[in-house]
Symmetry: C2
Subunit: 427 residues, 2 copies
């Protein structure tokens, strides 16, 4: 039995997907919706397949499976809804759509009894969606920690390995095509935020949306921070973290994206360049990590093809298996999330200073794990000879305590500058 594929969108991922389809005996490309039918296309896409009428592609009787790689909310959302209502399974690579409207669309798919699959929306070729929904469906997942944005990982790798400053590394990433001309979505963590919302929804069977995610980007990270981190045995990575908390009142979910110091011995520390990885901690499974190409035409198209083959098997043999997304759950605000912190202060070099700093920490219930005081002359940014650099890492405490401590430092004459504050994982 040959199944017909209708493709919506034909950019990098769509073009690569068409090439992969060529090797599949029982799948046939029936039509491709594009914005322009005159733009030159790669081989394998005959001009007779092209149309600008996406709705017509969805409704063609010989299209059995719809593949959406347009991106963005509309018209993707309406087209996918139309396909599902017509009883056609849909495969999408659209993280923005799934992170914002996934729950509604999955309900429509379940009502129609067909698949809505989106492996390619999270971390490209890495099969993390299927791992969470199938392999780990019986597992109590406690935390997911991902490097799920290749652009920022590339920038941080350059800063780490070549001592480049942020602006320099970003320019290089733009020159190589790893970063967009407007890099905001990547460097401020919005892209990673959409992905972690999707992973949290599946892992915790809760409806978590992009807007629930706390964001902090990498644009404030300096070469000096990275240098300090390395000397202490850490790498700085942009992490997307989803955690489940439960207490007597029920349970809640924390979702956040921010730079963090990762110990060298942690599996995430060795994820370099534009590679992605997702580290999963489960009660029975223990630590798992999934590593690979998080973007790019062929890797993303490979994930799309895996989903298309699953949808095809369900059409042929029956047995569509829904993705469980639960109801809305309370989102733990960032202030309540526990974290360890690295803090780099410039202080007056005089007796009693340490006591004042330690006092402020103690009053806000933040305890110190390690502390170093640095010689004036080697401290990279000391503004004069009467200051010292005080660098410490705290034990985990709710973020609000650390913020209160930083506010208290403002009141201390002996604290000249708070150079940087970076969260630390994996104590």
């Amino acid at each position: 039995m040959t199944l017909g594929i209708g493709l919506l969108g034909c950019g990098t991922v769509g073009g690569a997907f068409v090439e992969l389809l060529d090797g599949q005996d029982n799948l046939e490309l029936r039509q491709v919706a594009v914005r322009s039918t005159t733009k030159p296309r790669s081989a394998g896409i005959g001009s007779e397949l092209l149309t600008t009428d996406a709705a017509a592609v969805v409704s063609r009787p010989d299209v059995d499976i719809v593949v959406e790689v347009i991106g963005g909310i509309e018209p993707a959302r309406s087209l996918i809804s139309a396909a599902l209502r017509a009883g056609k399974p849909v495969v999408t690579a659209n993280k923005e759509l799934i992170a914002n409207c996934g729950s509604e669309l999955l309900a429509e798919a379940e009502e129609a009894g067909v698949d809505l699959l989106f492996e390619a929306a999270v971390a490209g070729a890495i099969p993390i969606v299927r791992a969470l929904r199938a392999s780990l469906s019986g597992e109590h997942v406690q935390r997911i920690t991902g490097i799920v944005n290749g652009t920022t990982n590339y920038i941080l790798t350059k800063m780490t390995e070549e001592g480049a400053e942020y602006a320099e590394a970003l320019s290089e990433a733009q020159r190589l095509g790893y970063a967009e001309r407007d890099p905001t979505a990547d460097v401020e963590g919005f892209d990673a935020g959409a992905k972690v919302a999707i992973m949290a929804s599946i892992a915790f069977a809760a409806n978590v949306v992009a807007g629930d995610v706390y964001h902090e980007g990498i644009s404030n990270i300096t070469a000096t921070d990275i240098d300090f981190a390395r000397r202490l045995g850490y790498q700085i990575k942009l992490l997307a973290i989803a955690e489940q908390f439960s207490d007597d009142d029920g349970w809640s979910v924390g979702v956040r994206v921010h730079p963090a110091m990762v110990p060298e011995s942690h599996p995430l520390a060795s994820v370099r360049d534009s590679f992605n990885a997702v580290f999963v901690e489960g009660v029975a499974s223990g630590e798992l990590m999934f590593y690979g190409r998080g973007a790019g035409g062929a890797p993303t198209a490979s994930a799309v093809l895996g989903d298309v083959l699953e949808a095809a098997a369900a059409l042929e043999r029956g047995g569509h298996r829904p993705i469980t997304v639960g109801r809305r759950v309370p989102i733990t605000p960032i202030d309540d999330l526990p974290s360890a912190f690295y803090v780099n202060l410039e202080v007056t070099d005089a007796p009693g200073v340490l006591a004042q700093v330690a006092g402020a920490l103690g009053r806000h219930a933040v305890s110190i794990r390690t502390m170093e005081q640095h010689d004036l002359h080697t401290a990279a940014r000391s503004s004069n000879n009467e200051t010292a650099r005080l660098v410490f890492i705290t034990h985990a405490s709710p973020e609000r305590n650390l913020r209160a401590t930083l506010a208290a430092f403002e009141e201390l004459d002996v604290v000249k500058v708070v150079h940087s504050v970076v969260r630390v994982i994996g104590s």
Copy 2:
């Protein structure tokens, strides 16, 4: 709908699985086949559930899914066959059985139209089987390189990080329960061989069995080898490798287990202690890696539970999806497999020696990538003061060429000792 589970075997994995079942609303443990009904069991297994009659467990009308964690070929094989013939899906953690009889059993499952699932047979909690059969089912997988034996990885990690010799590290592994009293299956690569046969079968849709796998263990690896490797930027790991080769005559598969030098920058190099990881190279997906706990009760039971939930969904909603294992294919003999090699020679310290060694290499079409000559006094095992240590890494060439070169070295008076020969991956 509540489905009944019949459990065959109740050792470490079986006991952990019973605990996990407790959290599953629609699964109920109906009976457990054990060797002794009087041996004390962990909480959650009432004595009324125990029986020594495994065949009766399989045939109970209220057992819908059979879970086999006995291990070994018989009686597991007959019991699984009986279950499949009765139309009951089977989940097994039995690598030995699947690596030897997987193809026949999968054919029986397909005939009965039910699932035979075995995620737990390969690398414990790591969902590599599902990744290969579902996510990567449309992918052209070129090579799989795995660290799939925790015992040997633990031993090699101790040797690397503490400078321990093999015998010492093995004793410690035995003391901690990571190695059996008779460690042969682990240290000689038989356990890893069974796992790589299973992975090759799925990834390449070919019937590859344990007996097809070339084995070499780690008992000859010395602390000196590890030290040389580290200085050159490599870690020594026991690798299980499956590769697909194609030429005009068709295609063949190479499957082997042996120690190898892995570059520090390779994702497999940072897999420490008893952790496992599987590195997959596909044409479209690029490089992927799956990392986690490869053994232990809870992690293995977690994989069993994932499969049980898949089997349950297929029973409830229909749509069993078979695992494709193709026919027998030619197995590339180790002599034909291309590899780079590290060679450590003790040679006479005299003019012209290098020319003789290089001549032998050249005559057998082995070219040198890097070479170092070491000072006599620091060479750890130099037997007298007139010898030097010659260490080189070759480019990849068929193994037979390297063997012919080593035979040629035997004929050279200037080559005193061939201290070690270790394959090298990831040039």
